[in-house]
């Protein structure tokens, strides 16, 4: 048959009907739906054996034990370790994101050297060469090598400080934080011995004077665990209904600069109702006289806005509790608390008889030192970074030639950007050991990336706020993802090259020695256990009064502030710590009223808004003498009037797309002050101004 048009049409029609009667089209359609589950660009999940390994979180404070679930050799999730006493199965959002952070786009994959303002990748041999040459050139010259460390609990500090001492420098500094401030007040000002620890598990009534105990202060996860078990009644005094106050029995609204005065007024009432309180404490009579004479309670009433009756009944509550515990500290867990606040809070505990007893303050011994030629731990803690930077910026101190940054990001997290950046930039050569391209690494001349905590052996001795001395060690959970190295081991090698033998072949040997000295079982330590010891230090040189203290109390009554609104910095673990930025999964937990696009929110109540001419959604500038931030307004009635809450953790300019350029950096609003009487350098929450930029949408 010739294929004419009709024939062709018949053929086609026949073909279609015939094919329809075969399985072919139906199979193809069915197959297509299976293809829709298996497009090549959708990530595949390789299967494997599931097991878990213990790890020690080291992403800034607090450090505690967690468990990492692995599939074959890939870590996939992090969860709590029920066997680790510091956390007992709890985990915070940052640590829960830590496995993803291992693969953060901002990880530094190999050593970097800066030439002509750009980083170029170099090998470890080259990097070590450069470092050894530089250090050899500075050996023996006093104070030319300095170090800032953000990891307060690791033995690696001994290597760093020991190296510095061997090179002729004592300029070892911990990044300012709660520990350094407590150290200054308790040890320097009050003559106390040891670390202050808080035994919340033994307390029946906890009064927080500022610290966001259940979110961002000290070992928050441990506090959360205890709170969840109804271990104690919780009262929160502070300027904002933060995460702690959201669940506390009561929120006592008090501005941050009035918390110390509240504590003094409580001291007054305690002494009134229990005249023999703290009778054996040196200086208690002078303190008692002071609070009586200086109408402390009137001061407190004026500054806190609380009635005398309220303060008196709060004092009675503390007295009626069997084991009360008062926790003074900064609002955001960093450096915003004054010596007055710490001193008066600590004294209140002392007068309530809470020193070295169950449920009270514990004076914990310092860790043993294993590097023979390193400074002691108290010596290491006594470095005052803020004062040093002030000196450099003002020209009264010369900048060191070389500066190490270990586990810290001060270009982001220090106050008074102008001053601190000026001081840091005056250092000719800066070296960072950071795992991430953070603001500090970006400003350095040499970057020698450390392993991420999941990739390394490391330890932690008594993280701040721990109730007793404790020691944890963790082995690596995964092989290094990038060409990073264990920096403590690197530094040991370099020390040897510089003829400064630290006495150990490896970091592991050092940690084993530390464990041996403590009497800890190494095998138990590396399988997620913890050594602890409840020895407390007796206080034989404690004093509650001296001239410096009196001056500190006197000067605190002056308040000349140019601006009207109290700034309240607030930290959340989900936005990271001063060392880390916002973790990938943390960003998605930020609600619409916390971050919108790239603009973050400050919170104030309607009355404050009215006074400052702003509304919900207004774009505003928050300005202090030191700097300014841009944000949108979120009306929140859980904020005191004349206060504005600013969240920490925003305003990163490096890192990755999960953190960069989101919001503004609250640290730049803080300034450095030297407190009269205590001589402590700290960054109080300033008063600020709120200026509207444009009308609310």
């Amino acid at each position: 048959m010739a294929l004419d048009r009709r024939g062709f049409l018949k053929f086609v029609a026949g073909g279609v009907i015939g094919t329809g009667l075969t399985p072919l089209p139906w199979k193809v359609v069915d197959d297509v739906s299976i293809w829709t589950q298996n497009w090549p660009w959708i990530a595949n999940i390789p299967d494997g054996e599931i097991h878990s390994a213990p790890a020690l979180v080291k992403l800034g404070q607090p450090e505690y034990g967690i468990r990492v679930t692995k599939v074959e050799d890939r870590p996939v999730t992090a969860s709590g370790n029920p066997d680790h006493p510091l956390s007992r199965g709890a985990i915070d959002p940052l640590a829960a994101s830590s496995v993803q952070l291992l693969h953060s786009p901002s990880r530094i994959s190999q050593p970097l050297k800066k030439s002509d303002g750009e980083f170029e990748a170099i090998s470890w041999e080259q990097a070590s060469r450069i470092l050894i040459e530089k250090l050899a050139g500075l050996k023996g010259q006093r104070g030319q090598v300095a170090c800032v460390s953000g990891d307060e609990t690791s033995t690696a500090n001994e290597i760093l400080a020991g190296l510095l001492r061997g090179l002729g420098s004592e300029k070892f500094f911990f990044h300012p934080g709660e520990t350094t401030l407590y150290h200054h007040i308790w040890q320097k000002l009050m003559g106390g011995r040891g670390h202050i620890g808080f035994d919340l598990s033994g307390a029946d009534l906890v009064l927080s004077l500022g610290p966001d105990l259940l979110e961002s202060w000290g070992n928050a996860v441990s506090h959360q665990r205890l709170f969840g078990e109804d271990a104690f009644r919780l009262l929160y005094a502070g300027p904002v209904r933060n995460n702690t106050a959201a669940v506390a029995e009561r929120w006592i609204p008090v501005h941050s600069d009035a918390l110390g005065h509240l504590a003094l007024a409580l001291i007054h009432h305690v002494l009134e109702q229990r005249p023999l309180a703290g009778k054996d404490l040196p200086g208690v009579n002078s303190l008692a006289r002071y609070v009586r004479r200086n109408s402390t309670q009137v001061q407190a009433q004026k500054k806190t806005g609380l009635s005398q009756k309220t303060i008196r009944s709060l004092a009675r509550e503390l007295l009626e509790a069997e084991r009360p515990l008062v926790v003074p500290g900064s609002l955001d867990g960093v450096c915003g608390v004054s010596g007055l606040d710490l001193y008066s809070g600590l004294c209140l505990n002392l007068l309530l008889g809470r020193l070295n007893t169950a449920g009270g303050l514990q004076c914990i011994p310092e860790p043993p030192k294993v590097v023979r030629d390193a400074p002691s731990w108290p010596e290491m803690r006594s470095g005052n970074l803020l004062a040093e930077l002030q000196g450099i910026a003002q020209g009264s101190t010369s900048a060191p030639e070389l500066l190490f940054f270990y586990e810290t990001n001060p270009m982001y997290s220090l106050p008074d950007k102008e001053l601190t950046h000026k001081a840091l930039e005056a250092v000719p050569y800066k070296i960072s050991f950071s795992q991430f391209m953070d603001e500090t690494s970006a400003s350095c001349d040499l970057v020698l990336p450390h392993h991420y905590f999941l990739e390394r052996l490391d330890d932690a001795f008594t993280p701040f706020s721990s109730p007793s001395a404790n020691y944890s060690v963790a082995q690596p959970v995964v092989d290094p993802v990038h060409a990073t190295q264990s920096v403590p081991d690197l530094l040991l090698d370099i020390s040897r090259e510089l003829d400064l033998d630290p006495g150990f072949a490896s970091y592991e040997a050092m940690l084993k020695e530390k464990a041996r000295i403590l009497g800890a079982d190494w095998k138990k330590l590396i399988s997620g256990g913890m050594w602890q010891n409840s020895t407390v230090l007796s206080q034989n040189s404690l004093k509650l009064w001296d001239e410096g203290i009196r001056r500190m109390l006197d000067k605190s009554r002056d308040s000349a502030d140019e601006y009207q609104v109290h700034l309240v910095p607030q930290s959340h673990r989900k936005t990271g710590t001063p060392q880390t930025a916002i973790p990938p999964f943390g960003l998605k937990t930020l609600r619409e009223d916390e971050l919108e696009g790239d603009t973050f929110f400050v919170r104030l109540n309607r009355q404050t808004a009215r006074k400052n001419g702003v509304r919900e959604g207004s774009l505003v500038t928050i300005s202090s003498p030191e700097g300014s931030c841009q944000a949108k307004v979120n009306l929140d009635e859980g904020v005191m009037t004349d206060a504005v809450v600013i969240p920490q953790g925003f305003g990163h300019t490096e890192w990755d797309a999960f953190s960069r350029d989101k919001g503004d950096n609250a640290h730049q609003l803080l300034g450095i002050r030297s407190e009269p009487g205590s001589g402590m350098a700290y960054c109080p929450s300033p008063r600020v101004r709120i200026d509207k930029i444009e009308a609310a949408r």
């Binding site: 359609v29 297509v32 739906s33 293809w35 829709t36």
Partner: protein, 409 residues
Amino acid sequence: MLEQELIPEGVKRCSPGKFAAWIGILLLFVLWGLCAAFLIYGFGLGVTNLNNYFAFGLWIAVDLIVIALGAGAFFSGFLKYILGIDELKNIINLAVVVGFVCYTGALMLLAFEIGQPLRGWFGYWHANVHSMLTEVIFCITCYLIVLCIEFVPIILENRQIHKKPLFRNLAHNFHITMPLFAAVGTFLSFFHQGSLGGMFGVLFGRPFALREGFFIWPWTFFLFILSAIASGPVFIMLISAIMEKTSGRKLVPFSTKKLLGKISGLLLCIYLFFRILDVWSWASGVLPRTGFTFDEMFNQFYGQWLLWLELGVGGLLPAIILMTPSLRARSWLLYTAAALACLGVVVNRYVFAVQTLAVPVMPFDQWFAYLPSWTEWGTTFMMVGYSALVVSLAYRYLPLFPRERELNA
């Protein structure tokens, strides 16, 4: 063969050039839609303004609207072939074509709407007998087949095709069996028009849409049927009027149009009675039981004005006009009333598709607003362009209107 020879005998059509230009304009809409389709299939539905709160948006609202308005097809068929209202033969072909484009257009939008279009056939193979949407899928598919069967004889009546004896016989046989298909079409349409309403009435998590009802069918089932048959006929009539205005030719006798107007008016009155009763019973029954007041169902954007628009401007007003012979006799009033009746259905479907989802149910939840994106508009206008394309081709090459020759003599 000359293009001229495809045009039905005895009627005039504009020049091929002019027609090509008209088609060209329609193709621009199609092109807009194709650009949108490229983005949708290339990147995902995130390129629209649909979101987790507005899972349904413009496309679902338009689908509901065109299916409601396309009800003119089955209902005219029912009136002509089952009830024997012979005058409707003047418009029945147009009704079939409009029904065809409405239903194919709705399916076209669904190809974009569902997240996994390649799995669309699961609705047939893995059907869930409890779901109203399953009922909709099956009935609409079956009815589309019926519409195709009804369309075929119209195509076969093209001047050139009709010359072939095979096709002429085929067309003749189709015409004989048309009443059967009309009956089947009516039966199927009753169910899917109703189930589309049922889809929303069963949502006991959404007090705005939830309705009590009769056995498994919430009242919205019946209300959607009534509103569809009330507005469908006048929609067809309106289309014919638009075609007359744009072509400059008379196509359908005014008496037929008035008849459709009267039928719609009557049905609109019946519908409004039940719809007003429904609003009252919902406001006094469903709402207090679920803990809401009437005012809480509305905000500024999704306001009570929509309800008054639907019932008043889109309901009572056209009903009055269409029921009054003297008013019905004036063409501009007739067409306005037709448009308003269609508007009433548009608002009703929009409100059920979108406002249902906008109303916050959890007390600490909030209102959001939804406006379609250009990609959603583009695909919708592509459907409109496609529909106009098919209707234009049918008008140009097929004898749609039996009275056209005599009306333009």
